[in-house]
Subunit: 464 residues, 2 copies
């Protein structure tokens, strides 16, 4: 997508002050700046004037104070794996890279919670937790930072059972646009104590402050985990299986859909050998007996909907390979068309409309002459596709863009949302307005109140 | 608690305009005003100048516009069952009673959601849903309105499994302080589309707008429900059973604690015949096999902690009697001391501190010479007590107040919160500041942005 035209700031004086504060941890090198202004999406990047590598909440606060004094924009950076142009420095300014803030500050095993710095990634945390029998289940495709996952209200394959970042962030430390440090929420499992500031910052995409610490809910690693793969004659059969499973209240941990194109891509990329058909990946968590019961119930539903045999992956190694393949679906898709660029997008609809929404989207892909495999966290009604586009071909991009617009507007018309888990960035601002209407004016009022200078990640979520 | 001193408004001109708009649905009768300014807590009430009985969102918007034009306070009223003085019209003004807005607007059985007007009560909704095999599990003691439950971020006995209003409100219709009508959220199960306005209004206690419609998540009525009662030699044994159950990840639906005093009170009030000992009420939801497995696991934990036999209540009638007794615990407590007034309060702590917090609180009750039975939604770390106070005895009230302060500060010191589910109202404003610190300043900034005249339920949650 073309960059929104924002007036560039004069960052010079702020950068000079930051250099004094940070020394070598303040970079103005072109390659560093470019890397920090472009995420992994198809959206055009925009380099900040400088990148500050912060090491503590207090240091982030000092950096923000300097930027605030000079009215210079601030963009927070975790791993740069966002998908809607979130980190593009549209008005220039300073990128605060928190990837060095990697301390796991506390793990409270008895209370199933922990506190981490914003730069800790989900894999780092899970590796650390494993020996204690604990896990943090939210898993976007990338090994994203927990600060970034909080900022975009990320989710992933486990959300159908464990919820998203919305349900799993208990509290935050945030540096406000004026440099004040504020702690929100707490360790109690529930609270009626005042406004829910935690959830206001979850999903605010760096536009209200910089998240520096996250208090997270944890879970015990289940006694039993069973994964299975089931191929279907038709996409409808697969989706109807999902709908019936959710409606019956079976507490599945994961249900992932791959359409025939995507399954074929994953077979090639990840050396799997499933039929190149619409496919569901399942995972069941619980006791031995409970997972057996769940899988029998779902097996019966699948059989009624044209599903084949369940192929069980009982060994941890095979299971990990399966889910790694699922997480690599994006790269598998890219490999379908060497040299092509990938443009991932997502929507989420009420589950009763899911089959219809995917079917119409797929038909529209064919009619548009596009290559765009579909994968989905279908237990939540959420699905993704990635357009595989020749970067030299403007007409093809325009066709993908038109398709994306039709898909998003279709999802909204079905009572859904323009993004289930990728966020708005600058790529979906127009769709947010179409979806939320007057509510966007309320969001703007909140933004204006907390960030009157408009320095926090300007041009994202909505226009000023 | 003594009423905070707020300057009374001059509501005359607004009331005259409202009379023209609403006719007989605008009351200035003293008895009506008094009823609408006093909740069921021990906190002193304050009557509004008039009560407007609204019938639609549009009408609420008209009423708010008139009040806004005259800078007259607005207090929303559902069933008046709040517990921290939430509905006291501290500066006078107009109470908007939405209890007549009782329409269930839609039930989407396939998507497990519904939309209701704010005056629908939880029991009304569940009666309506039962034939469709659906339920809405959030159950504060009173048969509260869903608008009020949203406004106070209520929960109840099922929260350990199903979450609170925070997790179960999908979207809202809200009349803003200037009379604009805004819809937040949507029907998709997850979304990354912009700021989470829904959760900003959940728990805002009428200080940011008037909630007129609520979109709720629903659940299928479980295939099997099993309830059991287990008595313990000691409070510690009961609490340790809860802690181990949660830590093992057993998906219990309800775990309620009653201390010996409360159990005795419930036996008398609800004609039960359980031992007057520390007692846990359990409920298990799932398949036949799943509930059996859960109950066996918990039974084993209880036995290790000095618990007696599980007394099973398998018939729906006996189960309903059990839970009605639990919901009537407040009235049972009141009956322990005829003529006494009841002052309910609640805190919530990380579960690892629960036994210690309850033990110290109980010891402090004894040392303070107070009568205050303890009940708790202990699976969440949340417990309540009700001080039974001679209304003529100021010294006794002061002793209870001092005890409450010690208990709340103890909970905060343990990483907990000043209120798990009752809210702040005007009764816990000081404690909110002690708990949340600088975050309260952020809350004030948001309030000022959305309600610059300060007309929405003034004097609640924090001082202006």
């Amino acid at each position: 997508m073309t960059l929104p035209a924002l007036k560039k700031c004069d960052a010079g004086p702020a950068v000079a002050e930051l250099k004094t504060l940070l020394g070598e941890r303040l970079s103005t090198a072109a390659a560093v700046r470019e890397h920090h202004g472009k995420d992994v999406s198809y959206h055009e990047g925009a380099s900040p004037d400088a990148v500050a590598f912060a090491e503590s909440t207090e240091e982030v606060a000092e950096i923000v104070k300097i930027c605030a004094r000079h009215a210079v924009p601030v963009v927070a950076f975790g791993t740069g794996t966002s998908l809607e142009g979130h980190i593009a420095a549209l008005a220039g300014g300073v990128c605060i890279d928190v990837s060095g803030m990697k301390a796991i500050l506390e793990v409270n095993q008895a209370d199933l919670d922990c506190r981490v710095q914003a730069g800790v990634t989900r894999k780092q945390l899970n590796t650390y937790l494993r020996d204690q029998g604990l896990m943090f289940p939210i898993d976007p495709g990338a090994d994203a930072s927990l600060g970034g996952m909080t900022a975009t209200r990320a989710s992933g394959t486990n959300a159908v059972r464990y919820g998203t970042m919305r349900e799993n962030v208990l509290g935050l430390t945030v540096v406000l646009p004026d440099g004040r440090i504020v702690r929100t929420g707490g360790r109690a499992r529930k609270s009626s104590a005042g406004y829910d500031l935690t959830r206001l910052f979850v999903g605010s995409e760096g536009t209200l402050g910089v998240i520096t610490e996250v208090q997270l809910r944890l879970y015990g690693i289940p006694e039993a985990i069973a994964a299975a793969v089931c191929s279907f004659d038709s996409l409808e059969g697969a989706v109807d299986t999902v709908i019936a499973t959710i409606q019956m209240g079976v507490p599945v941990a994961r249900i992932e859909l791959l359409d025939a194109v995507q399954m074929d891509a994953c077979n090639r990329y990840s050396s799997l050998n499933y039929p190149a058909q619409p496919t569901l990946f399942f995972e069941f968590h619980g006791t031995e007996q409970g997972t057996r019961e769940q899988s029998e119930m779902v097996g019966a539903i699948a059989a009624e909907n044209g599903g084949g045999e369940f192929r069980w992956e009982t060994l941890a190694e095979a299971r990990n390979k399966l889910w790694q393949a699922r997480h690599d679906a994006y790269f598998a898709a890219l490999a379908l068309r060497p040299g092509a660029g990938g443009w991932p997008t997502d929507v989420c609809v009420p589950i009763s409309r899911l089959a219809e929404c995917i079917r119409e989207t797929q038909k529209d892909i064919e009619e548009s002459g596009l290559l765009a495999p579909i994968v989905g966290h279908v237990g939540d009604g959420n699905f993704h596709l990635v357009y595989l586009i020749d970067p030299e071909n403007a007409e093809e991009l325009a066709r993908a863009s038109a398709h994306n617009e039709r898909m998003v507007m279709r999802a909204i018309a079905m009572g859904g949302t323009c993004t289930g888990e990728h966020g708005v960035g600058y790529g979906k601002k127009g769709f947010l307005l179409a979806e939320q209407g007057e509510a966007v004016a309320v969001m703007r009022t909140l933004k204006q109140a907390l960030d009157p200078q408009g320095i926090m990640n300007p041009g994202k979520i909505f226009s000023a």
